[in-house]
Each structure stands twice: as structure tokens, then as C-alpha cells.
Symmetry: C2
Subunit: 195 residues, 2 copies
Amino acid sequence: MNFLEERIQKDGIVKPGNVLKVDSFLNHQMDIALIDRIGEEFYERFKDKKVTKVLTIEASGIAMAYAVARCFGVPMVFAKKSQSVNIDGDVYVAEVESFTHKNKNRVIVSKRFLSEGDHVLIIDDFLANGCALQGLISITESAGAVVEGLGIVIEKGFQFGGRAIRNLGYHLESLAIVESMDAESGTVVFAEQAR
Amino acid sequence: MNFLEERIQKDGIVKPGNVLKVDSFLNHQMDIALIDRIGEEFYERFKDKKVTKVLTIEASGIAMAYAVARCFGVPMVFAKKSQSVNIDGDVYVAEVESFTHKNKNRVIVSKRFLSEGDHVLIIDDFLANGCALQGLISITESAGAVVEGLGIVIEKGFQFGGRAIRNLGYHLESLAIVESMDAESGTVVFAEQAR
């Protein structure tokens, strides 16, 4: 097991309905040293790529994307979940459905912050059905930018999102892939990863 | 002018209705080196306080709070803006009104992540009428924790939020206090700060 899988085993809580709560260290309270290490690990996995921007979606991906962007020395952009009065009309838009919140969001990125010539590393905390990631891919490609890779902290391997994105030919790296979990016993089984 | 005021002069955009857009470096695209420096500056201003947690509110405060928490070596907690199905019922709640989005949000923090004995530094990117900050203060004190201070990146000095919080006796530090701005000429005037 890697450092993240160990931490999930130790502090993650399995709830009925295939919900994995990691809110004590990852997406409500944040363990700063862990987030720093996640940033370094993604840098290791993608350092051979040309990366000019790190892209994520608010809110819980922001800290991880920031940690990754620091390692690459590039700006981080986070997509916003609804039309703010402070956003210009000149935006890239994608519609994404949230598994967690069971609703649809318009996701937007200002055209000023992604453009042709950008090489984008997309970072997010969770991957389940992949709707958020597909939205970020769509926005990146609408800008004429290149998706250099996608880095996910925790992938639910038993849902179809990761497979769909890999099948499309994207380079997707997940630090932990949950193969199965059981709320009654509290166990989490991770997929073996060839490294 | 300090480093942040200089950056606002250079890259901030004034829009009608006292809107200051800093989305090219602070709250949509993020300049990582700038955010790191913001973290260090807040550490300098609050390092004599006993701080056990850094608290912010999603979304744009997260990166700054993370940078501050790294300097203090403590966890960061971000308040969430709506009841997620992944949040336990056992939460502290505050109602806050958003000036930017002109709506009301329920803001919540799980009771597991703030408790009596915690000494909290509250960090946010903007302070206008202060509703978000008041919500975070209310949540902190509901937990029986101590508000050690509040750090704001940009305060709109011509609105009443900052004054109200200082009048209540809290130690509030803002890195830039906008005294006035003019959309036609694009000028921003900062309040002199005694340091």
C-alpha cells in the first residue's frame, strides 16, 4: 500500500451506499503534510509531461491542485460551479452531474485563463462516474489546449468513470483505486496498480 | 505599497458597482508564488498567537488557508456552503448572505473538526459586509473554541464589515484595504495601514 492507501485504511470511514468519507484529512479538514505529499506524488508521475497549467474544479480539489501547481511552478485554475456575477460572459462552459450531490452544475472557466498552446494537467480529489473530469476535459479542449494528463486522489474503481476516460486514450493516474468497500465491516480493498 | 497592493494595482480590474476583479491571480486563476507569500505574511502577523486550526470557507479561501496552515504546521478546515449528503448531521451551522452572489447560504462545519480547546485563525480572500466572517466566528464560538484572529487578503474598507468585526474586539488583519475605486479610470486607492 502507498501512503494514501494507508491513510484511507487508517482514517477513512465507509458508509452505506458506497460512500467513503475522508473528511478528517482530505476534503473538509485537511492534513497539510498529506496534501503536500499528494502534490509531490503527482509531480513524480507527470514530470515528463510539458505542463503549463493545472486545472481543477471547486471546492475540494483546490488544495491538491495548488500543491501540484507549486511543484510544476505553473499557475492553477479552478473551474467554478455556477455563473457568478463576477465572471465575464466570455467563458468556456460544461454541464456536469454530481454523484455526491445528485444535481447538475454548470462549470465555467474564463477564456482568459485557458488557451491554445496551454498544456493542462487536470487534478481532482474523487473520480466515480467521471462527469466532473469529462467537463474539465471538454473545457480544456474547447480552449484548443492539450490535456497532458489527469491526476485523481481517490478513484472508485467499481464505477465506470476511470475506465471510460482511459478508454478514450487519456493518461489517468489515481493515487488510490478503491476496488470494493463494505460499510458493515468498514473494510476498503484497493486495486493492485502496476507501477 | 506592499506586495499585494502592488499586484492589485498591476493586475486587478475595477468594474462598475465596486467590483474588484482579481481573478487572474487570486480567485479563479491562482499565482502560486503569490499565495505562498500571502501565507507567509499572515504567519508573520499572527505567529505570536497560539493557533491549532486554520478555518476558511469554500471555495476561493481554500488555497490561502492551506498556505497559512502550512506555515503554522496545523490542519486546515474549510466550512462548506450547503448540506452535502456526505456530511453527518452533527454539524455547526451558520446562515450567511453573499454580497457577490446575492443569495443566502447555510455554512456548516462538522463538530468533529472544531472543539473546545481549539485556537482558530480564520482566513478568507475578501471582506465586504463581513457576513461570511461573522458566520465563521459564530461557528468557532459555537464549538467553544477561541478566535485568535482573522486574516483577510482584500478588505473593502468602504463597507462596514471590517469595522464591525474590529469593534467587537477581534484581531483582524487585512493585507490590502481598498479605500475607494473607480471603474472609469480603473484606479484603486488603498487605506494607509499602521504597521
